[in-house]
């Protein structure tokens, strides 16, 4: 299939209700860190962008939100033109300019503090990172506590960034500044807002 067709195919079949469903899944995951919100595959973006990450981008991004893509996605002309056609989001030149960042390969990603952290006055002006992970059960378990969590919850996302626990600890110390993570697995979403503390990590 040529690029023009690839960039047009695979958007939301029902933009209003699909976007609402995706947003509610993200909102519930953000409000209850550690919970996994199931999400049917609404979007069919070109590889290496995953269906879940693509759907989140369609639901939240538009021409107001500069988008940063990691090198794996950056290399795909089809992904760039698909996101461009369906969201209209401009591509950010640097991670620090991005409102959203989509990371296809979290294990290789640049450090979290390279993204926009917001300011002390406006901590909301930070980057929200959408990390594509293959699943939420096979990685190193993370024991989570903080707002939204009744009893400590565990998720074990695969392919997380290097030294993630240490990086996350630094992210928390910057509060109220910091980045928020949306973990996009093939069958569901989990979130790590900047308030979530990782209690311990077992190998």
């Amino acid at each position: 299939m040529d690029i023009a067709a690839q960039s047009i195919d695979g958007g939301f079949a029902d933009p209003v209700f699909n976007a609402q469903t995706v947003f509610r899944a993200v909102m519930d995951a953000m409000a209850r860190p550690g919970s996994v919100q199931p999400l049917p595959a609404f979007a069919r973006p070109p590889a290496p962008l995953s269906a879940t990450a693509g759907a989140i981008a369609l639901a939240l991004c538009d021409n107001d939100t500069p988008l940063w893509l990691d090198p794996a996605l950056q290399a795909s002309a089809a992904v760039k033109s698909w996101l461009g056609f369906h969201t209209g989001a401009p591509l950010a030149n640097t991670p620090a300019d991005a409102h959203f960042a989509v990371i296809a390969n979290p294990a290789e990603m640049a450090s979290l503090d390279g993204f926009s952290q917001g300011t002390q006055d406006y901590p909301d002006r930070s980057t929200t990172l959408i990390l594509q992970v293959s699943d939420l059960v096979s990685g190193a378990p993370l024991l989570l506590e903080g707002p939204g969590i009744e009893t400590p919850a565990t998720i074990a996302p695969a392919q997380m960034p290097r030294h993630f626990v240490e990086q996350w600890k630094q992210n928390i110390t910057r509060f109220p500044r910091g980045v928020d993570l949306i973990l996009a697995a093939p069958d569901g979403i989990a979130c790590l807002p900047r308030t979530t503390r990782i209690k311990t990590m077992e190998a």
């Binding site: 933009p15 209003v16 209700f17 976007a19 609402q20 469903t21 947003f23 509610r24 993200v26 909102m27 519930d28 953000m30 409000a31 209850r32 639901a59 939240l60 991004c61 538009d62 107001d64 939100t65 409102h99 300011t119 002390q120 006055d121 406006y122 901590p123 909301d124 930070s126 929200t128 707002p147 939204g148 969590i149 009744e150 509060f175 109220p176 928020d180 807002p193 900047r194 308030t195």
Partner: protein, 302 residues
């Protein structure tokens, strides 16, 4: 299916919804912080809940069940018109029963019936900035939040004690969220403040005129500000509801005549009606034709 042009689902256009949804996510990630958003003109005046309506319109889906309350009541103008609005523009199911609703939009009360996980409480907020009456400049209050400089609020509460012998603030009583941001719980009576603490429901706040959205995720610490020697206290009432005999609920005073006659009744109409349907009678409950049971019936164990 109709042929005439119609509104987008839930009235707002999709770009506006995305903008509000992004603000809601940021609000949840930074509990108690007021996220600026580009509030839209709504087909109702500011002060009638345009902030809450925009938040509800951005989160609601066809499967949701909506309840709207105004000062606890399901049947007052604001509640009825907002409920009718969403019935019309989103075609969603509406209810007056707290337990059956998935989204509850509220003006100035938290329902008496405990909220459950999965429910969303949307507050209509007139003045989101708790420091506004102490410091009118937005640039300054923003700095105070940034530096976590809340001494002024404690001075205000202290002046209450110096003047009145107790903290005289009874509504919009300031709270601290997760030990960081001081937040205005909207003008709810302070009676409702303890219900916000570690509530299983997600709480979203929308201020349309002031263009701010903020949030309290479930199971988040919400602590009312106080002093060691003047701890936070809620209002108490020396008589039960005159219609349903409920105690430990928030009561409204209703004037009955121009000779000083009055009665105290539940502000939460759904709670009051449920109790009366269960046979609870207050001392002013009307003798209904559909005879329920004996007025002196014992209250069953909870």
């Amino acid at each position: 299916m109709t042929d005439i042009a119609t509104y987008n689902f839930a009235y707002l256009d999709e770009q506006t919804k995305r903008m509000i949804r992004r603000a809601i996510l940021k609000g949840i990630a930074i509990p108690g912080y007021q996220v600026p958003f580009a509030s839209r003109e709504m087909p109702m005046p500011y002060g009638w809940g345009t902030g809450g309506v925009q938040v509800t319109a951005s989160i609601i889906g066809p499967d949701d069940v909506l309840k709207v309350i105004d000062q606890g009541a399901d049947d007052t103008t604001n509640a009825v018109s907002i409920r009718a609005f969403f019935k019309k523009v989103a075609n969603v199911a509406v209810t007056t029963e707290t337990a059956k609703a998935s989204i509850i939009q509220t003006r100035h009360r938290i329902p008496e019936h405990p909220l459950s996980a999965g429910q969303i409480l949307v507050y209509q907020v007139p003045i989101p900035e708790p420091l506004r009456f102490l410091e009118p400049r937005e640039t300054e209050t923003r700095k105070m939040h940034a530096l976590e400089e809340y001494g002024l609020m404690h001075v205000k509460l202290y002046e209450d004690i110096a003047k009145h012998g107790r903290i005289a603030t009874t509504y919009a009583y300031p709270v601290k969220v997760e030990g960081r941001y001081v937040m205005d719980p909207s003008p709810t009576p302070k009676f409702d403040n303890p219900k916000m603490h570690r509530s299983p429901a997600l709480q979203l706040f929308g201020a349309g005129r002031e263009k701010r959205i903020y949030a309290v995720p479930p199971f988040t610490d919400v602590v009312s500000l106080d002093f060691e020697d003047h701890p936070f206290e809620v209002q108490t009432f020396d008589q039960p509801c005159a219609l349903c005999a409920a105690e430990n609920v928030y009561l409204d005073e209703v004037i009955l005549d121009d000779h000083g006659g009055h009665m105290f009744v539940c502000s939460d109409t759904d709670h009051c009606e449920k109790r009366r349907a269960d046979g609870h009678r207050g001392h002013l409950a009307p003798e209904t034709s559909e005879t329920h049971s004996t007025p002196e019936k014992l209250e069953p164990a909870q």
